[in-house]
């Protein structure tokens, strides 16, 4: 068990003022067997009208609208989460599992994915073991390299390239799991020591979601805080916006997770 202090800080700076700005944020850690939210502070600027909701993937969302012109949009979420090691997350919505078994546009199969798929021979083992085989195959195939892929890059494109970031690792792993009809989902979250958000995957084994991190070729443990779930990255972006104005924009995102000093293991 650990206690982790986290901060999700995002600033959008517009060269010219924008208006009619709508946003949906999925940057609030949820509660489950693996993590408990101890404290949480949310700051959003400028003022907005909106509310909270839970989406169809179970994510906590803040959504809102800023009518007046503004040049900066700021989101700052801080809090403390208590995490557990080696705990699976129970699924209470088993009837919804089906949607996680089939490819999405971002995780559709293609020639490069088939090649990796064929390399990993893993007949008849448990979901846990199959997950490990697939994770290893993905990890072995990929070179971590930022800047060569975008948020819209598909699993197949990333696999063909052989390079990418955590989102690409996750998408490729999802595509391969789904080829075997293993229900699996994309997880966006935070990890101790990284400066940005992280992504990994969870596989469902008899109602228990097990977390794999293909970028690091390991199981996600109590250094991980999950924020949002979806079939792929497109289902549950951490922040999403829509505004009027023809202008350039700059985005600064800073994510920090530190172990609380008074914590014990």
């Amino acid at each position: 068990m650990r206690r982790l202090d986290y901060r999700y800080h995002m600033e959008l700076l517009f060269e010219q003022p924008v208006n009619r700005h709508h946003f949906t944020l999925r940057c609030l850690p949820g509660e489950n067997e693996r993590q408990r939210v101890l404290t949480e502070q949310v700051r959003i600027e400028p003022d907005y009208t909106g509310g909270f909701e839970t989406d169809s993937f179970g994510n906590r969302c803040i959504y809102g609208r800023m009518e007046k012109p503004h040049e900066r949009f700021l989101v700052d979420v801080t809090g403390t989460v208590q995490t557990e090691q080696n705990m699976a997350v129970r699924d209470t919505q088993m009837h919804r599992l089906g949607m996680y078994r089939y490819p999405t546009e971002l995780t559709a199969m293609g020639a490069s994915l088939y090649k990796i798929f064929q390399k990993a021979s893993f007949d008849g083992e448990s979901i846990m073991e199959q997950g490990k085989y697939i994770m290893e195959a993905v990890f072995g195939h990929f070179c971590y390299e930022p800047g060569v892929t975008q948020v819209t890059t598909t699993a197949e494109e990333a696999a063909a390239l052989g390079r990418g970031v955590c989102q690409d690792y996750a998408h490729v792993m999802l595509a391969l799991c789904r080829q075997r009809r293993i229900p699996c989902r994309y997880v966006a979250g935070m990890l101790v020591g990284e400066g940005a958000s992280h992504a990994w995957v969870e596989l469902c084994d008899k109602g228990n979601w097990i977390a794999f991190d293909p970028t690091h070729n390991c199981m996600a443990d109590d250094r991980y805080i999950s924020i949002s779930y979806g079939r792929d990255a497109g289902d549950s972006p951490i922040n999403q916006g829509d505004f009027y104005g023809t202008t350039g924009q700059r985005q600064k995102v800073c994510v920090t997770v530190e172990e609380k000093q008074d914590s014990f293991v």
């Binding site: 009619r20 709508h22 946003f23 949906t24 009208t49 909106g50 509310g51 909701e53 989406d55 169809s56 993937f57 969302c61 959504y63 609208r65 009518e67 919505q93 009837h95 919804r96 089906g98 949607m99 078994r101 089939y102 490819p103 079939r231 289902d235 999403q240 829509d242």
Partner: protein, 439 residues
């Protein structure tokens, strides 16, 4: 007075249709053109008893489809019980994961269903297709009737034809039934949409406001219409004529500029009705069509009153075998396409094309359905002083209030090309009024 005498009013009627701008927009080579929707004076006539039977069958079908959509975005019992394989849900393009667990006001998904039927030469009706997203077309027979009654009052005096001009009233009741408290709005993508005439005409007749996306705003978990004096008026029902994809850039296609950001979030909270419900595409997919009779049995415990055209799913090995053996007698449809596209006849393919198609079929069996070619009953049209037989279908409209209600008319579309089976207006077809006889 005989129905045939209607011909003599042809010019008057067409003049009036032009006067009221009864048009259909078409994009051709990238430019937008508005054409008058060709109207043929000879109505399709359906006898009272025949319509009563259709009515029963249509109500049953739509009740089952509504139950199905509710189940799919809810408990999914029909999958659990093995009636429909789950790949037909999750791999179809109509399923929207965002709709999981969302129950619309009063549990209505299929507020306005357009069910396409054809009549075989033997007189038997077959369901061709269910349209549960944004079926259009009701306004055309409605205004045509208005005009024909003006042109030839005697004919309508002497024949007891059920008045179809109550469609607006039915529609209004359907919208009011689910309204969560507030104004009723018809949301249009704008005047360059193919069916803009219909959007504006229905707004006029129902008294709803016609609006484009940015006239409506989401605020504090509710939807508002912004008045020109700056007041915000609560909206309780949105009859949207925009597809799911473009409805809400914050929840669906983020590139959409014609939608309303966050309308879906408000809908999820139960604070506005969206007509028809998002996600309905899961039930009107060509692949799902095959399963509708099974749905009727599953949800209603009844046998389907109206038949499907005999359909085969190459997904099932047995059906694949049949399809390959009888390829030349079948029509093959790509489940992802609509509007008459992606439809090919086995008999019309060259050897080479056939080979290519079969290998595609084997590669992706779930993508296609095969159907027996129904020998349509021809309907006469009047052209240049002559009566000519043409293929025609019937789009029946079923509106959902507490119970489904069938509009006692329908849109009869015909193919202008004598050899064509494709009647879609986007492919240059024309339309007729549909008379349901009162006695």
């Amino acid at each position: 007075m005989q129905i045939e005498e209607l011909y003599q009013y042809s010019d008057t009627v067409n003049e009036l249709l032009a006067r009221y701008g009864v048009k259909f927009g078409i994009y051709k080579n990238g430019t937008f053109n508005e054409q008058l929707f060709p109207f043929d004076m000879i109505p399709r006539i359906i006898k009272k008893e025949e319509f009563t039977c259709l009515e029963k069958g249509l109500k049953q079908r739509v009740a089952a489809l509504n139950a199905f959509i509710r189940d799919i975005y809810g408990k999914k019992e029909i999958i659990r019980d093995g009636v429909i394989p789950e790949e037909f849900i999750y791999m179809g393009s109509g399923y929207l994961a965002q709709c999981e667990g969302v129950l619309p006001p009063k549990g209505v998904f299929t507020h306005i269903a357009g069910i396409d039927l054809v009549q075989g030469k033997d007189g038997k009706w077959y369901i061709l297709e269910d349209n549960l997203r944004i079926p259009s077309g009701a306004s055309y027979p409605m205004i045509a009737r208005t005009i024909c009654r003006k042109s030839s009052p005697a004919l309508f005096e002497q024949n007891s034809i059920v008045d179809n001009r109550d469609y607006a009233k039915l529609l209004r009741r359907t919208m009011d039934y689910v309204n969560t408290g507030g104004h009723t709005v018809i949301l249009t993508p704008g005047r360059y949409n193919a069916a803009y005439f219909e959007h504006s005409y229905l707004a006029e007749l129902t008294g709803a406001h016609l609006a484009i996306g940015h006239e409506l705003v989401a605020e504090n978990d509710h939807l508002y219409f912004v008045d020109y004096s700056g007041k915000k008026e609560l909206v309780g029902a949105v009859y949207r004529r925009i597809s799911d994809e473009y409805l809400d850039p914050m929840n669906f296609n983020s590139e959409s500029v014609i939608g309303i950001p966050h309308i879906f979030d408000i809908y999820r909270k139960g604070n506005v009705a969206i007509i028809n419900a998002p996600g309905n595409g899961v039930a009107d997919d060509k692949g799902i069509y095959y399963f509708v009779p099974k749905m009727i049995r599953y949800y209603l415990g009844e046998e389907a009153i109206l038949s499907n055209a005999p359909t085969y799913l190459p997904f099932y090995e047995e059906d694949m075998k049949y399809v390959l053996e009888h390829f030349d007698h079948l029509v093959l449809k790509d489940v992802a396409e609509a509007g008459g596209y992606g439809v090919v006849f086995g008999s019309e393919m060259t050897k080479e094309e056939k080979k290519k198609f079969v290998s595609m079929l084997k590669e992706e069996p779930r993508r296609f359905i095969a159907q027996e070619v129904i020998d349509f009953m021809d309907i006469d049209i009047y052209e240049e002083g002559k009566l000519l037989p043409r293929k025609a279908d019937l789009r029946a409209f079923v509106l959902m209030e507490e119970e489904p209600v069938v509009w006692e008319s329908g849109l009869t579309r015909f193919s202008r090309n004598p050899d064509s089976f494709i009647v879609n207006s986007s492919q240059g077809g024309g339309f007729k009024d549909t008379w349901v006889m009162a006695e």
